[in-house]
Amino acid sequence: MKRFLFLSMIVLASISLAIFLSSCELFVPEPENGTIRIISIGIDYSNYGGSNKPSTLKGTVNDAKAISQAFLALAQAAVNLSEFSPESNIIEMLQEKGKVYTATDPSYPSKTNILDQLEIFKECDKNDITVIYYSGHGDTDGSLLPAYSATESNARISPEEMLEALVDIPGKKVLILDSCFSGNHIPHDETTIDLQTSENAWHDAFASLWEKETTISSDSLFVISAASTDKQSFEPGDEGHGFFTESILKGLGLVNEDTEDGETTYAFTTPPACNGNTLTIDGLFSYAVSEMPTEYVKLQSPQLIRGLYDLVLFEF
């Protein structure tokens, strides 16, 4: 009788385990691969005609060009993307000194053009990844300062407007911001506490455990910001890169940069920020922070989206 009971329990446990496991990642077919799209925005504000003319920035256009080149090289080497076309998947929106722009040029990074471009991305597939990179000024509330346009003077893209523009884009969205106060673009999350700002982490963490009305961790929006909500982002002052973007580029595998005949060329290797053969948002962020000069990490406090999820950008 005892043996029968024992055997019945073993069989029951095995059936339960099989049913349990059959509904997890190990047995359910994975979603199909999507592609990656990037809008790389760099603004130097040299043509600004508004009343409050912002200071010109020397590294922002270089930042945006290098980021798009880095993503192009990585996307072409990656094995986790379905189809990738440099012409349609990499979009540079630049405003740089010495170039003349017409009002109808869709690659000019005015507020309207940026939001229009995001509107076009609403036709993406649900398995795609859309990356929005921005290098430029940020206002004290985190609002991004687009390029000057006579028809939209002193225009800003607030964190709320950006979120609203992104929410209807299918698939995963990655926002990488190298601008002052860019931490304001990271949605509030009550499931975790920030160890950098919490004065009583133990108490705050347990308070969050009992929090009933919590924000749901998003599996579709991933944000990396060069600065926290109340800190500025810096560039060295020459025509290099912003400190944060330079570290991101190192993480993406930018190993050499030469300027020949006014054109910058880039060389890439396997991204050092990879963990094995996978490049994730958390991996890229932690590598970038480790590569940044310590004094600028303290000055800027780069931030990462909070919550449960991490995202695979590329697999090689």
Partner: protein
């Protein structure tokens, strides 16, 4: 004033218990450590999270060290204060997202009941402080465990046991059910001290 009195009272009571309880005929102090690894199924408990998840749960692995520097055994029951250190791996990739890996640490209270010479049952509970490393974010979890133990053997004052812990980890929006296997070692301090005393008096 009330708080100070309460603290003094609790400290006094603890000292009395610690002094009197070992005087029990079958009382002994032990010290031990256990190492276990588990499969963890992270199940969304909030409807919002469950709605956006395409899987009913995500699979993670967990490795845990439970340190029990001093436990009191009275008869067949052992009471222990433990320190748990735990690492939960990232979940298996699903599409292009996965749950972040995290570390956890916390003090635990444990009771082990020896049912017969070879089989026992351990139950324990803790409040864990957990953190995601690169993101510099923290959260808390309540962890309760039940683990049947099977004595593998003993050597002088050392006892080795096989355990199969089942854990329920309650986090905000997530319930993680963990099933694992591990090894538990403990050292009988009282018996070792008795033996040492006897050796000296010979």
């Amino acid at each position: 004033m009330y708080h100070r009195l309460r603290h003094i009272g609790l400290t006094f009571l603890s000292l009395v218990m610690l002094t009197i309880l070992p005087l029990h005929a079958n009382a002994a102090w032990t010290s031990g450590i256990s190492l276990s690894s588990s499969y963890s199924a992270a199940i969304p408990t909030s409807s919002g999270l469950a709605d956006q998840e395409s899987l009913p749960f995500r699979s993670q692995a967990a490795v845990q060290i439970d340190m029990a520097p001093l436990s009191l055994r009275i008869g067949s029951v052992t009471f222990g204060g433990e320190l748990w250190l735990k690492y939960t791996s990232r979940s298996i990739y699903w599409g292009n997202t996965f749950y972040r890996p995290f570390w956890a640490i916390g003090p635990a209270a444990s009771i082990h009941i020896q049912i017969n010479d070879s089989i026992g049952l351990q139950v324990a509970g803790t409040a864990l402080f957990c953190w995601y490393d690169p993101a510099q974010q923290a959260f808390a979890a309540i962890d309760v465990m039940a683990a049947p133990t099977f004595r593998l053997g003993s050597m002088v004052h050392n006892v080795f046991e096989l355990t199969s812990p089942i854990r329920f980890e309650f986090r905000n929006q997530i319930l993680a059910v963990q099933v694992g296997i591990g090894l538990r070692w403990y050292y009988n301090i009282s018996q070792a001290m008795d033996d040492a005393t006897q050796m000296r008096s010979r």
